[in-house]
């Protein structure tokens, strides 16, 4: 594996290899000294074009626990604000010879584009509304830890599917692990054609009881107000909120965070033992350790920068 650009690039075996490695790193996290020297002397560059505390700090912690050097490049206050293009920023930062670049941008396909411009291993930490592969991996890890196996599980992904890179990566990853995936939300927030990914589409929670796992997505308030995707958050909550009345005791609840309490989730379910939300955050570090380890450990063969295409 040269890069982690899309969950599409990982078959079931590769996903299992990464989550198994993550489980080994989880043992390290329980020790008094949480660090291993696996990536000593390697440099991981976090390049984030979008605000992100969780994902960025999770990657930072993962790299540090592997003893890698970490450089955080935040876009605000940088040359990017002076009009530098993505390409020039990447070429400039590549001059420091990072071994891996963890990239988050608001643009679909940016990680793949960057992988053609530099020799570093690229980890897609979210490209627009396209993909968020490490989130999918940590969700698979969390679920496997909790359920034992994912095969045959029914997973309902609830909410704003249209604007969610998490939804897209998870639909693919959960199915690859043998689960049946249903997406449910208001018709304005379910993109036309999403069923081509193999999932079932529903518009109500009427049969939520059939789900083994309920995966709620974050409602992005700022987005809802500007273009009237839903008439009101109040109505949204009354139809789609996962609360104590809707969630049955045998189901588990997941959410990529940050949670809007009282909108997509009621307070009592967030705090219930069924919620895996903090386990997901914890899994984030070990899974990202496994990803960086997979990409960077072992015999280091310098990656050639690909030839430019005929253009």
């Amino acid at each position: 594996m040269n890069h982690l650009l899309s969950i599409e690039d990982l078959d079931r075996q590769a996903i299992e290899r990464i989550v198994t490695q993550a489980a080994r790193f989880a043992e390290v996290s329980d020790r008094e000294i949480k660090k291993v020297p696996a990536l000593r002397g390697r440099m991981v560059l976090n390049l984030f074009y979008e605000a992100s505390t969780r994902t960025r700090s999770s990657f930072e912690l993962a790299a540090k626990r592997l003893s890698a050097d970490v450089v955080n490049f935040a876009v605000s206050g940088s040359s990017v604000e002076k009009g530098e293009s993505l390409k020039d920023t990447v070429l400039t930062l590549s001059a420091h010879k990072p071994d891996a670049i963890v990239l988050r941008t608001p643009w679909a396909g940016a990680a793949e584009l960057v992988s053609r411009w530099c020799a570093a291993a690229i980890v897609n930490a979210g490209d627009g509304k396209h993909e968020h592969p490490t989130q999918a991996l940590l969700d698979v890890y969390t679920l496997r830890e909790r359920l034992g196996r994912i095969d045959g599980a029914s997973i309902w992904i609830v909410g704003d599917v249209a604007h969610s890179r998490v939804a897209r990566s998870n639909i693919i990853a959960f199915q690859r692990m043998g689960a049946r995936v249903t997406v449910v939300g208001p018709p304005t927030l379910i993109p036309r054609g999403i069923e081509s990914l193999g999932c079932e589409v529903r518009y109500t929670l009427d049969e939520l009881g059939s789900a083994d796992v309920v995966y709620a997505l974050r409602m992005q308030r700022e987005r809802m107000s500007e273009t009237s995707w839903v008439p009101s958050l109040r109505e949204y909550a009354s139809w789609y909120q996962i609360n104590g009345r809707r969630l049955s005791p045998r189901q588990v609840l997941m959410h990529p965070g940050p949670v809007n309490r009282g909108i997509e989730l009621s307070g009592e379910v967030v705090d219930s033992p069924q919620a895996l939300i903090t386990a997901q955050v914890e899994a984030g570090v070990v899974v990202r350790m496994a990803v960086l380890y997979e990409l960077l450990a072992g015999a280091h063969v310098p990656r050639p920068v690909p030839e430019p295409q005929l253009a």
């Binding site: 679909a108 969610s164 897209r168 054609g193 999403i194 081509s196 005929l310 253009a311």
Partner: protein, 447 residues
């Protein structure tokens, strides 16, 4: 009203004998091997191979049975002058046209500033008289600054040579505004050429809505954003008795709307681009920005409907919508990239390879559709007949190559067909009586 016309740079009238070419011009009823004599820029004589006397000192072009076609006419190109000469200009754009076998092109007014006043149009025509390698016609804007709110001085623009009007790049969103332009056409004439898109439906989209956009998480432009506007404007045009042309149709529903308007007697015509005829939204999966254009690439069913529409005549002509963009503008993430692909240099070869060789379209019909744009804009149609001005292109249909392997004549390289294996190489183009393009042949000769 002054005659609207094409304009080109200084030319020396051609003197040529094209020997043993396969002349093909369905309108002239010609499809056989001929010698074609060009004198003083006109077709002086056509004869059986070897039948024409060889005037002394004249240049001979050996055809060896290669195809001689009427030069193509493109009613929709972006030459980017004035204001965006880093993408293209009159010289490079018309050079690209010549290299693609085109003998005339019609330039869109969405430049910077917009071509919405007679003085600007005048200076543009003056520049074309110095720089344009093939004849260029200009459309002026329908509304000032493409703002959609005030009509341009259409009558004056017509007097100063506007072939017609368009807000291309944008729709005329207000039906009331468009209606006024259609009414005013009674005074000044000139085809009104329409880019159809409902911005409230296409809002924010970077590709066609469907399974691929859903998988990529990219906001999609639904096909109805185009077809509802085609239907609306066809009705408006019929109500006003106006003559309208629908640009770059991209979906089956639009073809249906045009067909219904034609049956109802509307004075409507339509064009389709090579990329919509040959590619689908599947090509967007790799997020190559050369595949980002407006209207976006559509689904396979839409593509089939466009091919059928072109074959049956619902769609009158091929237009490239040649839309050059600089490398730095296109070398960005897909959603940030500007829309458009270049097309002049690949149009014929791409369509010949993708539709003629696959048996979906006859060569003669392709030639007809690639020249039909002229008559739609009241321009003379290039014709292979004695006495006609020489507007011709000689093509080696058997030549096989990778698009772009020798670089481009256009200043920009954002071609959606780049790197594809194509058949059909333009060897020679004559436009308005002059040789405007010769295939570059490099050979090493000992000193």
């Amino acid at each position: 009203m002054a005659a609207s016309s094409l304009i080109h740079g200084p030319h020396a009238p051609a003197e040529l004998l094209l020997r043993d070419v396969h002349a093909l011009d369905p309108r002239a009823g010609i499809d056989a091997r001929h010698d074609v004599l060009v004198r003083e820029g006109h077709i002086a004589a056509l004869g059986e191979p070897g039948a024409l006397a060889e005037p002394e000192g004249i240049e001979i072009v050996e055809g060896n049975g290669r195809h001689l076609l009427p030069a193509f006419v493109d009613p929709h190109v972006h030459l980017r002058t004035p204001g965006q000469e880093h993408k293209e200009d009159l010289e490079t754009g018309t050079r690209a046209a010549a290299a693609g076998g085109f003998g005339a092109v019609i330039a869109m007014p969405n430049t910077d500033p917009v071509v919405d006043s007679a003085p600007l149009l005048g200076s543009l025509r003056d520049a074309a008289a110095r720089e344009a390698r093939v004849p260029v016609g200009f459309l002026a804007a329908i509304t000032r600054g493409l703002g959609g709110e005030e009509l341009t001085e259409m009558a004056e623009l017509r007097e100063h040579g506007a072939l017609g009007f368009t807000d291309d790049g944008r729709p005329v969103q207000s039906a009331g505004m468009l209606r006024k332009a259609l009414q005013y056409q009674r005074l000044c004439g000139g085809v009104i050429s329409l880019h159809e898109e409902d911005p409230t439906l296409s809002h924010g989209g970077s590709m066609r809505e469907g399974a691929v956009s859903a998988a990529l998480g990219i906001a999609g432009v639904p096909a109805v954003s185009e077809s509802t506007m085609v239907a609306r404007d066809a009705e408006l045009a019929m109500y006003e008795g106006a003559r309208v042309h629908f640009q770059h149709l991209s979906c089956a529903a639009s073809v249906g709307a045009v067909a219904r308007a034609k049956v109802a007697g509307g004075k409507v015509s339509a064009e389709v681009t090579p990329h919509h005829l040959l590619l689908t939204d599947e090509s967007v999966r790799g997020l190559d920005t050369r595949m980002k254009m407006n209207p976006p690439l559509a689904g396979a069913d839409d593509r089939q409907a466009l091919i059928a529409g072109l074959r049956e005549g619902t769609i009158d002509c091929v237009a490239t919508d040649h839309a050059p963009h600089a490398r730095e503008e296109k070398e960005v993430p897909f959603e940030q990239a500007p829309m458009g692909t270049t097309g002049l240099e690949t149009a014929f070869a791409a369509l010949y390879t993708g539709l003629v060789l696959t048996g979906e379209l006859e060569l003669g019909l392709l030639v007809e559709r690639m020249t039909a744009g002229a008559a739609l804009f009241e321009l003379p149609t290039p014709t292979i007949a004695a006495g006609e001005p020489a507007s011709l292109t000689l093509i080696d249909l058997d030549a096989e190559y990778l698009a772009g392997e020798r670089g481009w004549e256009s200043r920009s390289e954002n071609c959606c067909f780049a790197g594809q294996r194509l058949h059909g190489r333009v060897l020679l183009t004559l436009a308005a009586g002059a040789v405007v393009y010769r295939e570059r042949v490099f050979s090493v000769v000992a000193a």
